[in-house]
């Protein structure tokens, strides 16, 4: 069975071998998607991890940048939803709990890659970062506080509205650009970023291979790409791990994300069996 899986993994990777240098990633995640029986878009997906919506990439939403042009009735309606989304003790608590740990990983890897001072309060000053699948902005806002020029995209308009309202509350985060669009549309617009971050998204994507290609296209040469995902089936887990180990050379650093139900805390570890986050770089061509 393992050899059959490996064979299919090789087939997939061969197909993608000449597209981008990030293709090993694509293969790693594509295989986890193709070979698993579990459709992550099923209702079993825990809402917090997918930023509140499992139908993110089924819409073809038009690219629209929602700035502070909301009218008062709309504002009131979305403010209430935003408060719930952003309530760290509310329904999205697991996501809020997970956030500092993810940010610690991102800070550490990006600082090292770009040679930034990790003891600075704003190490990402001057960097352009895109948060693909930003949801309510839970990742975008800390990145902006760390000095980056952040663009947050999400295919669900409601999320973008929530994100805009909340970001406008603080002058530091009000500079974030939020767009209701997809990664593919951004590629069409020829946008480029120093770092592309897409956390807890790829498990919801219809075509992970194409998604990864888009993410790669958005990254400048020698830029950085950070992806995280959850393994929700044994088969997906087996194949993803096998694939990742087989094709490990693109991944510079990988860490497992482990949840301790007793303490209610997430931490980084070597155990990649449940949920993991990976950082890689795009070689210049």
């Amino acid at each position: 069975m393992a050899s059959k899986l490996l064979h299919r993994v090789r087939a997939v990777s061969a197909r993608l071998k000449y597209s981008r240098t990030l293709s090993p990633t694509l293969a790693a995640f594509a295989s986890s998607r193709l070979l698993s029986d579990v459709a992550p878009s099923a209702s079993t997906s825990p809402a917090p991890q997918s930023s509140g919506s499992s139908d993110k990439f089924e819409h073809n939403a038009k690219s629209s940048s929602v700035r502070s042009s909301l009218k008062d009735p709309e504002l009131a309606k979305f403010s209430a939803i935003a408060d719930t989304w952003w309530d760290s003790g509310g329904p999205f608590k697991p996501l809020h709990l997970m956030n500092p740990t993810r940010l610690a990983f991102i800070r550490s890897t990006l600082c090292r890659h770009f040679g930034k001072d990790p003891s600075s309060a704003r190490p990402f000053e001057g960097m352009k970062i895109v948060d693909v699948g930003c949801g309510g902005g839970i990742l975008s806002e800390p990145l902006a506080r760390m000095g980056a020029s952040v663009t947050g995209v999400d295919a669900v308009d409601k999320n973008i509205k929530i994100a805009r309202i909340h970001a406008d509350l603080d002058p530091v985060t009000s500079t974030i650009e939020y767009c209701c669009t997809t990664a593919e549309k951004l590629v069409e617009e020829q946008r480029k970023f120093d770092a592309v971050i897409s956390l807890e998204v790829i498990e919801h994507v219809a075509d992970p291979a194409e998604f990864c290609q888009s993410l790669s296209a958005l990254t400048i040469p020698e830029g950085a790409l950070v992806i995280s995902t959850i393994n929700r089936s044994m088969r997906a887990y087996a194949t993803a791990i096998v694939a990742a180990e087989y094709l490990l050379h693109w991944v510079k650093e990988m860490a497992g994300f482990v949840y301790n139900p007793l303490t209610g805390r997430w931490s980084l570890s070597d155990d990649v069996s449940v949920n993991f986050i990976a950082f890689g770089t795009k070689n210049s061509q």
Binding site: L103, A104, A121, P142, R145, M146, L169, D170
Partner: protein, 444 residues
């Protein structure tokens, strides 16, 4: 002091030195500076700083401003009671350290912290005023910001009104305003606690020669402590019931000196003898040998020659805020907890709070979080609350154990003295815990 130490700590860390801090304190000394004349006799208001606190001060760069002024390290401590049944002698050697603590006048501490913050490259502004009211919008947090615009009025910030009419917006409001904290009141934190039916009489006294040991004798009405301050001076903290406190405050100086000497020496009961239970050999099977100071016999404290300051009286109480934090607000120091002075721990707990909070703020900024966020502040609370409560419980336990004159209990206490004196792991643990090196009173 505790609030200022938080500001200094934030100023000293690269992650937090960019923060904009407003210090709201109506004490004119903050604006005019604190002038200390080295020739002045010592103030009666002093604090005993544990080694842990000293090293925290060094880390933030404040200790250097303290060193030119009077301060006294002590490396020995003797604790006994009026029954004469037992005593414990602690020595810094027992834990391979140079000192058990340092006694410093509060004005010296304040001055060194003020100089530290003034010389730091740090955006701070002192508002010599008092907090009148505060509104905490459920959605907002902020560290002080000047420059208010209509957009910010919807932002997630705490709004503070001061007595001079100033209006401030802040992401985080830290209440370091003492046991009658206004911040705690306005934020609606409930407290638990009780008043001890005891007051403390505080003054400075002079000896014929230098005192280098800290002494504490538990008397029927409460303990009397003699703390070395340097230059032949010592500080007295004498706990007793309110009526006696008033008497002692109003009696003549000569009479007062007599009662102090009486209390420290033969008053109320005999001296403990070293050989009550056969020089402690009975305990040698407990631990890894008898610690060196166990063999140092009981000593009588140095005689007080004269009174060197006014006598002050303070009521004592135990109070603990049920919560230390909520969105936009955190309490540190006496605002969060007040304890009995019998072990000199109170202000050290406060400094511990300040440094813990500053570290938590630094960690938050490292991951780009908003510093007023409740979940983040709860991390500070989770770190300090257990430690503070443990200490408070222990001190309260001691206070109660020593306020009863009851035969079997006296023997138990004596056994406690002996155990602490002769069982070296226990003694080390006690010293370690009281020095702030160990967070919780467990054998580790």
């Amino acid at each position: 002091m505790v609030g200022m130490s938080l500001a200094c700590s934030l100023a000293s860390m690269p992650l937090t030195k960019h923060l904009n801090v407003a210090i709201i304190d109506s004490n004119p000394a903050l604006v005019n500076g604190i002038r200390i004349n080295k020739q002045d006799p010592p103030d009666p208001r002093v604090s005993t700083i544990t080694p842990a606190t000293t090293s925290m001060f060094r880390d933030i760069g404040a200790w250097q401003y303290l060193q030119p002024y009077r301060h006294a390290y002590f490396d020995q401590m003797q604790v006994w009671d009026y029954t004469g049944l037992g005593y414990t002698r602690y020595h810094a050697r027992d834990v391979d350290k140079d000192s058990l603590g340092c006694v410093v006048e509060n004005k010296v501490l304040q001055s060194s912290l003020l100089l530290c913050i003034q010389n730091a490259d740090f955006q701070k502004r002192i508002f010599p005023s008092r907090l009148v009211s505060m509104s905490l919008n459920p959605g907002l947090k902020s560290k002080q910001m000047d420059g208010i615009s209509s957009e910010i009025s919807r932002a997630d910030l705490a709004k503070l009104h001061l007595s001079d009419g100033t209006c401030l917006y802040a992401k985080l409001v830290v209440g370091a305003d003492g046991s009658k904290s206004q911040v705690r009141e306005l934020a609606g934190f409930k407290t638990t606690g009780w008043n001890y039916s005891q007051n403390a009489v505080i003054c400075t006294v002079e000896h014929a020669s230098e005192n280098q040991c800290a002494w504490q004798r538990f008397l029927p009405a409460g303990p009397i402590a003699l703390l070395p301050m340097g230059d032949n001076f010592s500080n007295i903290v004498w706990t007793m019931n309110p009526k006696e406190a008033l008497d002692r405050k109003s009696m003549t100086e000569i009479d007062f000196v007599k009662t102090v000497n009486h209390a420290l020496d033969h008053g109320f009961g005999p001296h403990p003898t070293s050989s009550l239970l056969g020089k402690g050999n009975i305990f040698s099977w407990f631990g890894a040998g008898v610690p060196t100071s166990g063999n140092g016999g009981f000593e009588i404290p140095p005689k007080v020659v004269k009174l060197a300051s006014e006598r002050m009286v303070f009521p004592l109480s135990l109070r603990h805020a049920n919560d230390y934090v909520s969105k936009h607000v955190a309490l540190i120091g006496d605002a969060a907890h007040t304890v009995h002075p019998l072990a000199g721990q109170g202000v050290n707990l406060g400094f511990g709070d300040a440094f813990a909070l500053s570290r938590v703020i630094g960690e938050a900024i490292a991951v780009g979080m908003d510093i007023g966020e409740a979940s983040l502040l709860k991390k500070y609370e989770a770190e300090r609350k257990p430690a503070n409560i443990a200490m408070m419980a222990i001190l309260d336990g001691f206070q109660k154990a020593y306020s009863v004159d009851f035969g079997p209990l006296n023997i138990l206490r004596a056994a406690g003295f002996h155990a602490a004196n002769y069982i070296s792991p226990l003694k080390r643990s006690i010293i370690s815990y009281a020095s702030g090196e160990q967070r919780l009173p467990l054998f580790t």
